[in-house]
Symmetry: D2
Subunit: 160 residues, 4 copies
């Protein structure tokens, strides 16, 4: 186990485009290189790609599953947490991390972004949602142009 315990969540859809999967895999790869433990929802798509990337570098991967069976975890999850809580597990994913990297994503990802921002957990976005409230842009999601930049920004925010 890494000595300094840093946990970063990667969130995104259980289905995604090949381009998004590539981004996620590079994010996972870079997190592991930086000795950061990867937290995710444990399923396919973005989650699987990120876990694959982390595993390829010997990183630790945690999958917080919505269902009641650990076997639903993607094959790169080392620590499956079996919640059977459905989408309420989204809260657990973001709260177990010190920063969140959102890649693409659907409405489940949007709920996770909301939970993270509500808890003061920074969110870095790669090609994901952007938000306006009452006609004004909300710039809480910190944009990144590349996986390396996303990881670098996330780690910097944790360390500060």
């Amino acid at each position: 186990m890494p000595d300094k315990k840093r946990f970063i969540a990667v969130i995104g859809g259980s289905e995604c485009s090949p381009q998004e999967a590539e981004l996620a895999e590079e994010v996972g790869h870079e997190l592991a290189r930086q000795d950061v433990i990867l937290v995710c929802g444990g399923l396919g798509g973005i989650m699987e790609a990120a876990c694959k990337g982390a595993s390829s570098q010997g990183g630790v991967t945690i999958g917080i599953l919505p269902g009641g069976n650990g076997k639903a975890a993607n094959s790169y999850v080392q620590i499956p947490i079996v919640t059977n809580l459905g989408e309420a597990r989204n809260v657990v994913v973001v709260k177990s991390a010190q920063a969140v990297i959102a890649i693409g994503g659907g409405y489940g990802t949007l709920s996770e972004i909301g939970h993270a921002l509500r808890n003061g957990i920074p969110v870095i976005g790669l090609n994901t949602w952007s938000l306006s409230r009452k006609g004004q842009l909300d710039s809480s999601i910190i944009p990144a142009q590349s996986p390396t930049e996303a990881v670098s920004k996330a780690i910097k925010l944790i360390t500060e």
Copy 2:
């Protein structure tokens, strides 16, 4: 109890402007007039104003509380559900409704919008978030210009 069981959630911040509170109270008022049961998070701000409006018309109000003590419910909640689940209760609020009306709102409300849309539960917005994804406007939140329009649109979507 109303015969036809229709449940609509009103979501929004536990702190809000007087203008938003007025909108929420009118929404609650109108829901009760239409024999719709009001579901909310049970606390202050938008939630309290909506419950107050519903109560003034003899409506039924359900408050799904994040904490462990029913006494935290605003005084217009008739049915307090005590979850002690923290923000994971947001999922329960939206899933217990057939449509959601979002008024103003912060990041907790954003998470509820995400959970609702993820579950195919329609969201009507009054001066709330607007969303873009990957540079494209997402028009899933149905805008309303007034409390009456919001309730009317929500009921229409349930009935269809």
Copy 3:
């Protein structure tokens, strides 16, 4: 809605013997007669029988469902709360009540008894679990010999 808001949970298996169903129905009947709102897990067996008894007297019934679809509620549930939390909803059932009446029951009921006692919520037992810890009888579950006695004891404990 009753003026004095008293909530009592009835817990027990989703499958039960005809004798247990009769006990549950009488408990529901008596709760409604005493203007107590019935909380339960919303499914069949003991839960359905208790809701049936309460409904026959015009009582209010709340069903806190483990699944994601309100249609799973038994037909006597007036207020379905849709959690999709699986068994974690057991905590919500007991915490939303001021006292709990356990009838028969399996391991799910046992978990609810544990959650109730952990929270200082009194548990009245009708033909249910009895507990020993480290070789010594634990008498926290208050025995009752009849539905009427169970309801009477539960209401007395709330009022005190």
Copy 4:
């Protein structure tokens, strides 16, 4: 990380006697020696003693916390899962394990035993609850006389 992923939960009170702490520490020690990952509720008492024992042998320890702050974890938890779900996290503790070892314990532990047995997850007991239902002894909790026997029985049940 161990190659064969076996997860066993150790459950028991956040306060315990020195004798119980010793039992828990030996259980943790033995789990780590057998390359089993330890799951627990992450707090003090039995949980801390078990994590301490596992850590002393280089074992991996997961703490599934009820609160919203990872800093509440005992200092031997390597993987803190931050749920903010209160006691609903008890379900996550047992479902994330393939077997459960209960040591001493109060009503929270009783709820976990109920959740485990409800899910068909075997429970080994060291000086813990014993159960009767409707006047008949329920022998679902498998007794063990020592930490080594508890771990050995738990592993055997997983492997079968």
